[in-house]
């Protein structure tokens, strides 16, 4: 979870800018959620369950290849199971609770964290999963979607930090290279681990969780 931008880390203009960027996505997600829940009020609970599931998932420690421990983002799995627009709203709430209950992230940086983790991550996962599914290799699709969603999240976070803290020499580009290099060492192994983990969960769901998958498909068909 080191990729959460901590409270007060971004200067005021950038914090406000990322809030503005995230708002339209949040509104679109809310509108599609409102439509779903108007027709099926009981799905509200299921959506809340999905949010709580993502939160608990993100608070688990997973072993990274390099020996350190970190936390999965869960955005890949969430986007595959619930679709990207629903995941934006749920991801936003999850990020808020992470700030409130775990002191990870913050209120002023919530906008920036939402853009990287609740907007870009799920969109990338959804797009890759959709692109690879027709090849018939579902597990590869799940792995690539989860791992690349993670990577996309880190790239966006690195870019956000580089924009806020340009280097004196070389400006944005030099700063992006520095943040990118640090993330590449720590987060690429983590992305691979999360990909593998998501495939294991997927296998389990295919083997024992058919009825659960059917229930979840309800949300996707509606959105």
């Amino acid at each position: 979870m080191a990729m959460h931008i901590a409270e007060g880390f971004l200067p005021f203009p950038w914090a406000a800018f990322w809030w503005l960027v995230s708002l339209p996505f949040l509104l679109v997600g809310l509108r599609s959620l409102a439509r779903i829940t108007r027709e099926h009020p009981e799905l509200k609970l299921l959506l809340a369950l999905a949010g709580a599931f993502t939160f608990v998932l993100s608070a688990l420690k997973i072993p990274s290849v390099t020996g350190s421990c970190s936390h999965p983002t869960g955005t890949g799995l969430g986007a595959i199971l619930f679709g990207p627009s629903v995941m934006t709203v749920l991801g936003g709430i999850v990020l808020l609770f992470q700030a409130l209950l775990l002191a990870h992230g913050g209120l002023t940086t919530l906008g920036a964290n939402m853009v990287s983790m609740a907007v870009v991550g799920p969109l990338v996962a959804w797009w890759i999963f959709g692109a690879l599914l027709p090849t018939g290799r579902t597990r590869l699709a799940v792995f690539a979607a989860a791992a690349l969603a993670d990577l996309a999240t880190y790239v966006v976070t690195a870019a956000q930090l580089a924009l806020a803290f340009p280097a004196a020499n070389g400006g944005f580009g030099a700063s992006l290279a520095k943040f990118g290099a640090i993330y590449a060492v720590t987060q690429v192994p983590l992305a691979i681990t999360e990909g593998l983990l998501t495939v294991l969960v997927w296998n389990w769901l295919q083997a024992y969780g058919k009825p659960e998958l059917k229930t979840l498909q309800l949300i996707q068909q509606e959105s």
């Binding site: 007060g8 108007r38 688990l60 002191a103 030099a174």
Partner: protein
């Protein structure tokens, strides 16, 4: 983890102040923390520590440990800002930017501590301290249920609030399930190697999904049996009292800090 923050918030001595007042105070501090100069940011951190430890009665050790966690994250990303690299011949700007002219040649590159980076880093640390203090003041003095009341008065979409309330209650149910499964796995050497740990985690997440869906079905059935139409209304019977003493200190302090940040800009 979360139980701790929640328990502290429910038992703190500023519990009876109106949540809207506390939220306004914290929001003012947060904005001031982002725009004020460094000395004012440090003052904000100290003043809020007085509120949290002195007035709200949160143990100083607990508050310090909580502050160190996010500040630790901030510190861990400082090297990327402070250390810069330039090509061997080095652009002319490097000499001017290098701290005390120190530089370290490495593999065709020159590493140096950047003056520009140092000033960015010190501004960042002060800002993080002040903003985190403002967030923690609200976290430690206002329980979650009162946050929802405030957000409702701020006209946040009801659907969003409802989802938040449901998610909040589900989190604790799921967390208990995770605890049980994790204990069972540890007792059976589920984490003896890297591969096993990964397999155990996959099993845990799959099981968690199944068991949480089972608890969802039970809840949905129970709600439907009671005529659930889509919204859940809860009676709130907490009574709040306005304290003139705290109100005066908050307004006075905000005014002084605001004036100082304009004077020192």
């Amino acid at each position: 983890m979360s139980h701790r923050i929640d328990a502290l918030a429910h038992g703190n001595r500023l519990r009876l102040l109106p949540p809207l007042h506390k939220a306004c105070f914290a929001a003012t501090m947060l904005v001031l923390a982002l725009v004020a100069p460094v000395p004012v940011q440090v003052l904000i951190g100290l003043w809020l520590a007085l509120w949290v430890v002195g007035y709200a009665g949160i143990p100083a050790g607990t508050y310090l440990a909580m502050l160190l966690l996010p500040l630790g994250f901030a510190v861990s990303s400082l090297p990327a800002i402070v250390i810069s690299a330039a090509g061997q011949d080095g652009p002319a700007g490097m000499q001017a930017d290098a701290w005390r002219g120190l530089s370290l040649p490495a593999a065709g590159w020159t590493l140096y501590i950047s003056n520009h980076g140092l000033s960015q880093a010190s501004a960042l640390l002060a800002r993080s301290l002040a903003a985190t203090s403002a967030l923690f003041f609200l976290l430690l003095t206002t329980p979650f249920s009162e946050w929802i009341q405030v957000l409702r008065r701020l006209r946040v979409p009801p659907l969003l609030l409802e989802l938040m309330v449901h998610i909040y209650s589900f989190i604790f149910i799921l967390w208990a399930i995770v605890d049980e499964i994790a204990v069972a796995q540890r007792a059976r050497s589920g984490h003896s190697s890297w591969r096993r740990t990964l397999r155990s985690l996959g099993l845990l997440i799959g099981q968690l999904l199944e068991r949480s869906l089972a608890s969802y079905r039970g809840r949905a059935l129970a709600l439907e049996a009671r005529g659930f139409q889509g919204d859940l209304r809860v009676v709130s019977c907490a009574s709040h009292r306005v304290s003139r003493r705290y109100l005066a200190e908050a307004i006075g302090g905000c005014a002084v800090l605001g004036a100082l940040s304009i004077a020192w800009q």
